[in-house]
Subunit: 340 residues, 2 copies
């Protein structure tokens, strides 16, 4: 098998073989395959036929060497790795970007940078020119990776507003603030008056903006007792819900800044003997797959993940082409289910 393989590798046809088979020169083959400008119809056909018979596929390394382009892109996740499979959002983003980029034949390299060691490795790897651009999924601010990437001059698109870098780094994000307003207004319209919230971490855009939306609607009536901080994990949602019940046992609604935390909150409410939505209404955020698997199913704010990934890819490809970084803010939508 080993011999087979190395033989197969040796025998891979090159552009020379195609040229010979088609009776033209290397240059013509190259032109024919890259756009086909200034190539006679006869030559073009001969080349295409020769490609078919020889089974030629261009060597990406050779091409990269001369074009100075890697023709690939990195998807970098700075969250603790565990998140990738606990929180479906990350998988959806990854999947969406991969698919979007596959359309234009750009492969995606998956890298994590949650620890110091990983960050160094990823940083060096990207600096080596292994990729043409970076899709950065990093909610927490203050990560040195973003600065390192900016210094190396490689195109970057962040997912979610990169706090502190809004002007310099391209990003695509849902309109968190108005999404939060939608939900809180919905809870009010359901007659709820003691509306609590479980926020994301204060160093993340979702943590900041969704809380701001909550305050936009409730204004002065938002007592500190009704606000608890979570960390976007299920366990964090459970802890925050327990704290809220302790401080404000009379609450009649909770707006939770992520579906995963909301699932945790539902468990705690259930264990405390409260009925959802009769005693307490619960609203989530994301509309991830979790929202339909809880009991009761979760009323939530839908993030337009497909549009987000599409925009991320568009913004990245633009920058790789040389255009300046831009931002894209996308609208959210209220999805009403059984939990309110």
């Amino acid at each position: 098998m080993s011999v087979e393989r190395s033989k197969a590798a040796r025998n891979r046809p090159t552009i020379h073989d195609v040229a010979a088979a088609a009776g033209v020169s290397r240059g013509t083959v190259s032109r024919a395959l890259n756009g086909g400008r200034n190539v006679s119809p006869a030559a073009l056909e001969a080349v295409l036929k020769a490609v078919r018979t020889t089974g030629y596929v261009a060597n990406p390394a050779a091409r990269s060497l001369v074009t100075q382009r890697a023709h690939s892109v990195a998807f970098v996740l700075t969250e603790p790795q565990q998140r990738l499979f606990e929180d479906p959002n990350f998988s959806i983003l990854l999947q969406g970007c991969t698919q979007e980029l596959a359309e234009v034949d750009v492969p995606v390299l998956l890298m994590t940078a949650s620890t110091e060691v990983e960050r160094k490795r990823t940083s060096r790897f990207i600096a080596a020119g292994h990729v043409d651009g970076v899709l950065l999924v990093s909610s927490h601010t203050g990560n040195p990776l973003l600065d390192e990437l900016r210094d190396s001059g490689i195109p970057v698109v962040a997912c979610g507003k990169p706090l502190g870098h809004e002007r310099q780094v391209a990003y695509a994000a849902a309109d968190d603030r108005s999404g939060a307003r939608l939900m809180v207004e919905h809870l009010l319209s359901r007659g709820r008056r003691r509306i609590a919230t479980i926020t994301g971490p204060p160093d993340t855009p979702g943590g900041v903006e969704r809380l701001a939306g909550y305050r936009d609607v409730l204004g002065e009536s938002a007592s500190p007792d009704l606000i608890a901080h979570g960390d976007y994990s299920r366990a964090g949602g459970e802890a925050a819900m327990a704290a809220l019940l302790e401080r404000a046992p009379d609450l009649d609604a909770v707006f939770v800044a992520s579906d995963l935390m909301a699932a945790g909150a539902l468990n705690v409410l259930h264990d405390s003997g409260r009925r959802v939505p009769q005693d307490v209404a619960v609203g989530g955020f994301d509309d991830s797959s979790i929202a339909t698997s809880t009991r009761p199913a979760l009323t939530t704010v839908r993030q337009p993940f497909q549009r987000i990934t599409r925009e991320m890819v568009r913004l990245l490809l633009e920058q790789i082409r040389g255009e300046p970084p831009a931002a894209s803010i996308l609208p959210t939508e209220l999805v009403v289910r059984a939990s309110t």
Copy 2:
């Protein structure tokens, strides 16, 4: 910004710059960086210092061109993309492989091949020599991709026994059959006598082997009424559970071939008014993150995912080095929680 970038790209130091800075030749720099054999201590130090001052990082394209190695690996998922984020198993596998390979500085390319178009694209991409090997996560048999990959002679490691190709393709898998036996024996020891099962699809190794283990223990007493087929999705688990309750309302236990399907089964049992585990004991398979998030928490069979990914990577790197394909079967473990 565009100018900055291209300038930065132009200015990337090459091995020549390092050689000049260190006062040695290219060859010595290359040797110093690749193993350091036959390099004097003085030269070695000079090179390392020059690398530090110049910020040199080897150009992967140039290296690949001459070594005929891509130094990267593809992770190919043939399941419908949705699975990646519905079923945490896939994320765990992906994450595990990525991390394991990062240790040896090998990046992972993520590709899906669930549709005809995607499969062609992936196949062509791999044939182009973009990667040195493939980690294949494809439970269903009969996918032409496996044959295509074998024909192209590229090293492949499958996750789970590749039915019909066991002899030719390397793989790492949990010992599904004995794992299933563990669970069914456990249910018997809890005094259950009408033990049903929800299986995986019959064209997947998990579907076949876990059912075989179930039959190993129950033998003749396994009536067809107690066996329903699922598709590893939550909805599939719900449907199968509903069918079982229809056919055998007196069942007192279910062994479900995946945690995700078990979560669906729990919902249906709950809706039917049965208590778990008092009326019906439920056992899952995988010990994924779902198992601890259900109510009650799920007794399940732990798949050693970390060892599986480690073995997959080891088997792949071995093959890339030229060794023949091998297989690795790993033991499972019963994890008892509240659902039995």
